[in-house]
Structures are given as structure tokens and as C-alpha cells.
């Protein structure tokens, strides 16, 4: 078990290197020049060139990349050329927002998705059909579309929740929860659909597996069978689905944070992309990668807890 954890953590190193190299290459190939962006349309070419030198943008890309890596080794992700802020400072507060959003989404999705999936597996028939339609709706409707509709109904018309913005939990716990409701719903629709579907499929597979048949044939009552054996076995694929939903939600924050004006990593990512703010894009790439590594690690640990084969291997 410990070996798995360590191996997963070691994975982070080549991952961060690979991701940052790709992002760096892409970003340095992008037309458009941060110096020009900062100085504006009217700036003279000399002024632009001077700023490029000052920002180190005139050096070859590999030199820039190596010096970035050097900083990374010390936990320094550089500074945003636009705000002048250290990238880590700029992203840390945003990481908290994104994590709050994504974690809440994943928890809600897991609880609702598993419940819905189990009911679907046991009921079949009409219930299953209804679930299918709801699942498909969750997949079919783009998250930002849902978000726009939710805002106009629940924020503007009914005034139940704030339309935009994020309230830090140490400011007001109620305000925090309330500011997350709509984003979580629009982000989570897809997740619920995915987890419910996975739960139902997994539960059905387990229900038709030999060991369930044997326990059933040898007299174990249905409720015990479901609670004690089906759920536990089904939870293994469901855990990996939850991992996938986590990563998917992380990606989707890019869309949802923009609609709800949440100061998270997703909205920063789009801004940085438009600005060609390479150090911020790289920083977000690193943060996203580390979060994904951590999620995969948790999924592996959960596997270990749920599946004795993994634990003892």
C-alpha cells in the first residue's frame, strides 16, 4: 500500500515536467507578445523590445524554461507579467476556491449519484428509463448553459442565491454555502449522471456475478446481499468514476467559474490564456497536474481499502 502511494507521488515529477514542457512550448509558440500587450498599441518598437529584455522574453525558449524549472525546484513559479504578483501568491487563494467548488461538487455528485444508481439497478424498468433520460440530459446540456438558466431563475427571479461571487467560509459559513449552491449544481449535473450510470452498471454487474448468485442461492436475504456485498463490490468501479468526475469537474471550472465570477483557477486560466501570461498558465498547469495526481492517489488508496487484492498485493 505504502509502495503504491510512494510510486504515485513519484509520478508527479515526470508529469509536472511533461505538462510544463508542453505548455511552455505551446505558449512560447503562440503569436502575440506580452510586452506588446502590456504596453499597448501605441508603444514604440523600442519600448516593446526594452520590456521584452526586461522580462527575459528575448532569451531562447529553453533558457526561459530551464530558469523556470530552477525556480520550480524552490517552489517559485515566477511572477505574472501582468499583475507583477508572484504566481504562487496569485494562485493559492484561487486554489482554495476551486477546490471548495470541485470538492463540494464531487461529494454531492457521489452521494446523489450512488443513491440514484443503486435505486436504478434494483428497480429496473421505468425507473431505469427515467434515470437514463436524466443522465443523458446531464450530459447533453452544457454546464454554462445550465449555469445561465440557474442564475436567471434562482438568483435573479427568486433571489434565493447570489448571482455571482464567492464568499470565503471564514467570512460567513452560510454565505459560503449559499454562494456555492448554483455553481455546484451546474457543475455537478454531469457528474451525477456519470456516477449514477456507473453505479447502476457496476451494481448490475455485481448482482449478476457468480458470488452474488451463490450467496443468493444459498439463502442470503436480498437486503443483506445488497448492503453487504453488492454495494461494496460495486464501489470499486464507482470510486474510479468519482475520480474521473473530479478531474472532469476541475476542467469544467474553466466554464462555470466564468459564469459565476468565482475567483478560482479556472477563470484565471482563461484570462491568462488570452493575456499569454505564460508563467500563470504554467502555474495553473502545475496546480492542476498536482491536484490530478493527488486525486489519483486517493483513488488508489480507496481501491486498497475496498479491494483486499490491491491492499495485499
Amino acid at each position: 500500500m505504502l509502495r503504491i502511494v510512494l510510486r504515485r507521488l513519484l509520478w508527479a515529477v515526470p508529469l509536472v515536467l511533461g505538462v510544463s514542457l508542453v505548455v511552455f512550448l505551446l505558449a512560447s509558440l503562440v503569436p502575440g507578445d506580452p510586452a506588446r500587450t502590456i504596453l499597448g498599441e501605441s508603444a514604440t518598437p523600442d519600448a516593446v523590445a526594452a520590456l521584452r529584455t526586461e522580462l527575459g522574453l528575448d532569451r531562447p525558449w529553453y533558457e526561459q524554461y530551464l530558469s523556470w524549472l530552477g525556480g520550480l525546484a524552490h517552489g517559485d513559479l515566477g511572477t505574472s507579467v501582468f499583475t507583477g504578483e508572484p504566481v504562487t501568491t496569485a494562485l493559492n487563494s484561487r486554489l482554495a476556491v476551486t477546490l471548495a467548488l470541485v470538492l463540494t461538487t464531487v461529494v454531492v455528485c457521489s452521494v446523489v449519484g450512488v443513491a440514484v444508481g443503486v435505486v436504478g439497478a434494483l428497480r429496473g424498468g421505468i425507473t431505469a428509463r427515467v434515470l437514463d433520460v436524466v443522465s443523458l440530459a446531464g450530459i447533453a446540456l452544457p454546464s454554462f448553459w445550465v449555469a445561465l438558466v440557474l442564475v436567471s431563475v434562482f438568483a435573479v427571479k427568486l433571489r434565493w442565491f447570489p448571482a455571482t461571487g464567492y464568499v470565503s467560509p471564514d467570512q460567513s459559513l452560510g454565505g459560503w454555502a449559499s454562494s456555492l449552491v448554483l455553481p455546484v449544481v451546474s457543475l455537478g449535473l454531469l457528474g451525477v449522471a456519470v456516477i449514477a450510470k456507473q453505479t447502476r452498471d457496476a451494481a448490475l454487474t455485481v448482482l449478476e456475478s457468480d458470488h452474488v448468485a451463490v450467496l443468493r442461492a444459498n439463502g442470503l436475504p436480498e437486503t443483506r446481499l445488497v448492503l453487504g456485498h453488492v454495494l461494496r463490490n460495486a464501489s470499486i468501479p464507482v470510486v474510479s468514476a468519482i475520480g474521473v468526475v473530479f478531474v472532469g469537474s476541475l476542467d469544467a471550472t474553466v466554464f462555470v467559474e466564468n459564469v459565476f465570477v468565482l475567483p478560482g483557477l479556472g477563470s484565471r486560466a482563461t484570462q491568462a490564456t488570452v493575456d499569454h501570461d505564460v508563467s500563470v498558465i504554467l502555474g495553473i498547469g502545475v496546480y492542476f497536474t498536482l491536484v490530478v495526481v493527488l486525486v489519483n492517489l486517493l483513488v488508489d488508496v480507496a481501491y486498497g481499502l475496498l479491494d483486499p487484492k490491491v491492499r495485499t498485493a
Binding site: 505548455v23 429496473g124 443523458l136 445561465l148 458470488h211 456485498h229 476542467d251 482563461t270 487484492k309
Partner: protein, 647 residues
């Protein structure tokens, strides 16, 4: 017990011929609807790229922001352009972009996944590593960078999206290929007529096909969604060229002042996504090893009339006129019919047949364990006055485990891998004996001792994967014994075991039978096992009982040519040159049963009258009863009981 029989039976029609997947999908109304919708969308967009009601780029500023009218069926956009025309033309480019993502993903993932799963070893290791790596890449960050780099060229963006998405598919294909390959090790020996390599490739491909299609439809919907989202962020294809994503993005920007625009633009995407999703579901249902999924097809019993209870007090289990059918995408398929068999107290009856004969289906039907898409459609299984085929839910209490119990074929799959042996066994004990944990623990040790486990306390602490196959089968038998049953249904209890262990398990079963006086219904394809353990034999071929007789009579000389052929290919009866004989030809699948004798096509004694009409069971010399009009031993009187039900 394995799912293979039911699965083979259920999916045989679907996989029997090339192109039948399409037929299977189109056989359902959901598949037809989804397919039709997709076809209409695709055709409309293909044709629409050339023939649109209006020029998709032509502006009519005076007619901007119009709701639907005779002139503009779907209204006009912000610059007065015809929405329908734009949707049609935009569809082509949007669908092409999705196609690019899907193609890149499939082309990359399919060979890698197949190679990893089938070849294993180093190849598998390297591919799995790379996949792990790619799976952790923050897709959206890369995508944003790529789009910026290539001037929001969605085709390139979608190609990259497909590339990143291929990692997930590689995993899935690898898993399926791996499972298929492993399955082959078990079944290859039994398959006839094809080389192993051919079997492997065909088997893996057909098995993976369904998963790939399901995953691809899902991925296509996601690709469409991502395309839309990126356009919403202004990172999509540049105007004025219409794209679906761009149009939704445009509609989203005026959602409050001109909400109508959200309807056609979002609608066409939602419809396409729904059609893809439904299609994926149908494909999965059609190819899956079970029907359960979302299709939820089921079979109903024909009429409520049970077959008459013979009422013989010596007979524990009396199966009469049993007919089982499975619902498949292609319709209802009968897999077993007109089965009669008796099990008397304390005796061992062998249920013998090749795979696909329906012997496991019969065993499952008796215990009410048919998969969801299967059901007893006619006949009965009488257990001391109760028709088991009529039992539902709680009705099984007091029957399963305590009257009839089950030992399955693959002991390792028959135990819950996530819970300790002592816990599984103890749970059953507590149910049957209504005792507490402590008492249950004592009984668990007793049971394990009863099945001759050396160190019961230690074994009880282990997980199923920590014990050997032989030990696992002993544990499985102990589980069956927990309720002190009067009949043990043993479905190929030795097939998955080593030869030496097989004998031990058979000895154990015999010893337990002597000790407890229970009856055993032994499902097997192995004459050696029959010879060792059974008093009476029932032979099944292609869903029908072809012969019933005392074991001694069968070995002395069977009445049915099929029984003869089957005996001849037993490893105990090698051909003079030492090779294993086989029955030429293959068992006809349930949807291709011939009229008359099912074995006629392979039968050396077949004559014209064999294929004219249904063949009755005929009483022959000794204890033999066979479904043959040209039997190997002299014929006696037809058996009235089953005659009138023959079709």
C-alpha cells in the same frame, strides 16, 4: 457456475453473424429512433452544406432577432441571418470536428489497447505507464494553449482533445482484451474447428467492439460539449462561418434579451447528444453479456398453468416441460425446452451436455437464478408440492440454502472477493441457524472441518484470493452446506480445477452425501465425473433432453447417437491413434434450431424423417429414454408424458 452459458445463449444471435450488431440495434425502437435522428441530422448537414434555404452568411439587418416564421423556420440571428441555414451549414463543420476527435482517439487507442491487453508483458507495461501519464494531464490547460497557438482552429483543438482522450479508451480496450484473452484460456480447449489464434483475434475484436462503440458515442457527446464550451469562452471557430458551438455561444451572450436563440442552437446539440447517447446505450445492451443494462427487456411466462406435479413422494425435484427463453435485442429466444427430469432423495443425477446445450440454464432455472432477461416461459419445477418457477422474492426463504443449495463452477468467482471467508460463511450461518456472531464462528469452523479444510480458523481469516482453487471449492461447498440442504445443485464443480484436485472434490461430495443423505444434481460435461459420481444421467443437446437413463445403462450402450458421440470424445475414450475425438460440426445456436431432431445435421444415422417433425421421447431397452426415432438400442413405447407437448 459461469455466466457463459446464459451469455452465449443470450448473445449468440447477436454475435452469430457479421453486421448483426446493426440488426440488433435496429431491432429496438430506441435504436431505430436514435439512428433515424442521427441519420437525419447528418444527412441534413451534409446536404445542407450545399443546399440551404438562405445563404448562411447573408445578412438582413432589417430582419434581425426574429422568432420563427414562414420565411425563417427557426428565426434569425443577431445580424438577421437565417438560423436554420446556419445550423445546417454549421452542423457539417461541427460534426467533422467531432469526427476528427473521435477518429484520432479510436485510431490511437484501439491498436494500443489491443496490444497491451493481448500481448501483455513489456508492451503492456510501457503502454500502461504512458496512459497513466496522459490521464493526469490537465486537458483543459493544454487545450486552451493549443487553441491560442493555432488561432482557435477547432479541428486541431479537437484532434488534440481526441489524442488526450485516447488514454481512457486504451485502458478500457486493454481491460476488455485482457478479460477476453483470459477467458480464452478456459474455453479455447472446448471450442472446435478454429485455430486458437483465429479464435483469439475474432473473440477479442467482437468483445471489444461493443465497448468501443459505447465509449465512442459518449466521447462524441463530450467532444461536442467541449466544443460548445470553448466557443462560449470565445475560443471557438472564428465567425462568420457558422458552427454549432459558436452559435450557442452567440445565443448565450444574448440569453436574457433574445432567449429564443438558445432554443434552436442548444436544441440541435441536445438532440444530437441524446441520439448519440441512446444509441450508445442500445449498442451496449445489444453487446453486453447481460440484458439488464438499460434495455430492461424481459420475457413473460406463457399462461399461468403449471405442469402437473407427478406427486411421487420419493422425488424431491420434479422438472416437467421446462422451457426457458431469453429476451435479446433480436427478440425472444428459447434456449431450453421440454425438459423433464427427476431427482430423488439421496441420489446423484448427472446433467450432461456440451457448452451451449442449456444444462446450466436448467440448473439456474431451478434455483430462480436466471438473469433478468431470462425467464421460465412454460413448465414447472416441483419441490415437494411447491412450484419453484412461481416463487418470487421472499417466497424463496426456506427453500434456498436450506432445501436446495448451489455449488458453482469457478470457486474463485463464487466467493465475494472483498470479504473474508469466515465472514461470508458466518453470514449464511447466522441466517440459517438464527444465531449470534460467536455461535456462528463455531459453526463456521465446523463447516470448514466438514469439508476437510486443514486449518479452519486460519482459512476463515483469509480473503478468497489468498487461497487455492481447490480450497476455494471446499469453502464454496461449505457455504452450500450451511443451510443443511436436501439437494445440492453442483454446476460443473470440478471443471475449473486441477485434475488431482478434481478427484478430491468429487470424493468430498460423495463423502458428504453419505454423511448427510442429500441429493446432488451434478451439471457436467465430463463423463469421468459422471462415471465416478452419478446414479442416473440426463443428456442435453441444443436445449432439449436427448436421453435419460441409469448411468450404468449409458456406459453399457446409450440409446441416442449424440450420447454415443459425446461418450466417444471423452478423454477416457481416446481414438485408436491416441488423439481426442471430436463430434464433427457445431451445436446449432438457439435461434437456428432445425425442425425435427436438433442433432440430425451431425448425426451419422440421420435419415429424412429425422427432420420432418418434432421427435418424441422414446422408451428403449433398460432404463433408457431417448429423443430418437433411429436409436442405437431397440425402441420401446413412446413416452406419453412429453409426447403431446412436442412441437
Amino acid at each position: 457456475m459461469s455466466a457463459t452459458v446464459a451469455a452465449t445463449a443470450a448473445t449468440a444471435p447477436a454475435t452469430a453473424a457479421r453486421g448483426s450488431l446493426l440488426r440488433g440495434v435496429l431491432a429496438t425502437w430506441r435504436g431505430r429512433t436514435a439512428g433515424a435522428v442521427l441519420l437525419v441530422v447528418v444527412l441534413a448537414c451534409l446536404v445542407g452544406a450545399f443546399v440551404t434555404p438562405y445563404d448562411p452568411l447573408a445578412q438582413d439587418l432589417a430582419a434581425a432577432r426574429q422568432t420563427p416564421s414562414g420565411a425563417h423556420w427557426l428565426g434569425t440571428d443577431l445580424l438577421g441571418r437565417d438560423v436554420l441555414s446556419r445550423l445546417l451549414q454549421g452542423g457539417a463543420s461541427s460534426l467533422v470536428a467531432v469526427l476528427v476527435a473521435v477518429l484520432v482517439r479510436t485510431v490511437v487507442a484501439l491498436p494500443l489497447g489491443l496490444a497491451a491487453g493481448h500481448l501483455g508483458g513489456r508492451v503492456d507495461q510501457v503502454i500502461t505507464r504512458v496512459v497513466d501519464l496522459v490521464m493526469a494531464v490537465p486537458t483543459i490547460v493544454i487545450l486552451l494553449s493549443v487553441l491560442t497557438l493555432f488561432g482557435n482552429d477547432l479541428l486541431i483543438g479537437m484532434a488534440v482533445f481526441g489524442l488526450l482522450g485516447s488514454a481512457g479508451l486504451v485502458r478500457i480496450v486493454r481491460g476488455a482484451a485482457l478479460a477476453a484473452s483470459q477467458e480464452l484460456h478456459v474455453t479455447a480447449g472446448r471450442l472446435m474447428g478454429l485455430s486458437r489464434r483465429q479464435v483469439a483475434v475474432r473473440h477479442v475484436l467482437s468483445r471489444v467492439r461493443g465497448v468501443v462503440i459505447v465509449q465512442t458515442t459518449l466521447f462524441a457527446t463530450i467532444a461536442l460539449g467541449v466544443q460548445t464550451g470553448l466557443s462560449f469562452l470565445g475560443l471557438g471557430a472564428p465567425p462568420p462561418e457558422p458552427t454549432w458551438g459558436g452559435m450557442v455561444g452567440e445565443a448565450a451572450s444574448v440569453v436574457q434579451s433574445y432567449p429564443w436563440l438558445m432554443v434552436p442552437t442548444g436544441g440541435v446539440i441536445a438532440i444530437t447528444v441524446l441520439a448519440l447517447g441512446v444509441l450508445g446505450d442500445v449498442v451496449r445492451d445489444t453487446t453486453a453479456d447481460r440484458s439488464s443494462a438499460s434495455g430492461g427487456r424481459s420475457v413473460r411466462r406463457r399462461g399461468r398453468v403449471p405442469a402437473a406435479d407427478p406427486g411421487d413422494p420419493d422425488v424431491l425435484l420434479a422438472v416437467r416441460g421446462l422451457e426457458v427463453a431469453f429476451a435479446t435485442a433480436a427478440g425472444e429466444v428459447t434456449v431450453v425446452r421440454d425438459v423433464d427430469l427427476d431427482v430423488r432423495a439421496g441420489e446423484t443425477v448427472g446433467l450432461v451436455g456440451e457448452s451451449g446445450s442449456g444444462k446450466s440454464v436448467v440448473a439456474k432455472a431451478v434455483l430462480g437464478l436466471l438473469p433478468r432477461n431470462g425467464a421460465v416461459v412454460a413448465g414447472s419445477a416441483w419441490w415437494r408440492g411447491t412450484d419453484l418457477t412461481g416463487l418470487r422474492g421472499r417466497g424463496w426463504r426456506g427453500v434456498r440454502g436450506s432445501q436446495i443449495a448451489l455449488v458453482a463452477q469457478d470457486p474463485l468467482r463464487a466467493l465475494d472477493p472483498t470479504s473474508r471467508i469466515g465472514a461470508q460463511l458466518g453470514e449464511l450461518v447466522r441466517v440459517h441457524d438464527r444465531v449470534g456472531r460467536r455461535a456462528a464462528r463455531v459453526r463456521v469452523v465446523e463447516l470448514l472441518e466438514q469439508v476437510q479444510v486443514i486449518d479452519p480458523a486460519e482459512v476463515a481469516r483469509r480473503y478468497p484470493h489468498e487461497i487455492s482453487g481447490g480450497m476455494a471449492q471446499r469453502v464454496a461447498i461449505a457455504m452450500a452446506l450451511a443451510g443443511r440442504p436436501r439437494l445440492l445443485v453442483a454446476d460443473e464443480p470440478t471443471t475449473a480445477l486441477d485434475v488431482t484436485v478434481q478427484a478430491e472434490v468429487l470424493d468430498l461430495l460423495r463423502a458428504l452425501q453419505a454423511e448427510t443423505g442429500m441429493a446432488i444434481l451434478l451439471v457436467t460435461h465430463d463423463w469421468g465425473v459422471v462415471a465416478d459420481a452419478c446414479e442416473r444421467v440426463v443428456v442435453l443437446y441444443a436445449g432439449e433432453v436427448v436421453e435419460r437413463a441409469d448411468a450404468a445403462d449409458v456406459f453399457a450402450g446409450p440409446g441416442h447417437p449424440y450420447t454415443r458421440a459425446l461418450l466417444d470424445c471423452s478423454p477416457d475414450q481416446p481414438a485408436p491413434d491416441g488423439t481426442l475425438r471430436t463430434v464433427p460440426g457445431t451445436v446449432p445456436p438457439p435461434d437456428a434450431w432445425p425442425t425435427g431432431c436438433h442433432f440430425a445435421a451431425r448425426c451419422p444415422r440421420a435419415q429424412d424423417d429425422c427432420t420432418q417433425e418434432g421427435i418424441p421421447m422414446v422408451e428403449l431397452a433398460g432404463s433408457r429414454v431417448a429423443r430418437c426415432i433411429h436409436p442405437l438400442v431397440p425402441a420401446g413405447q413412446p413416452v406419453g408424458l412429453t409426447l403431446e407437448r412436442s412441437r
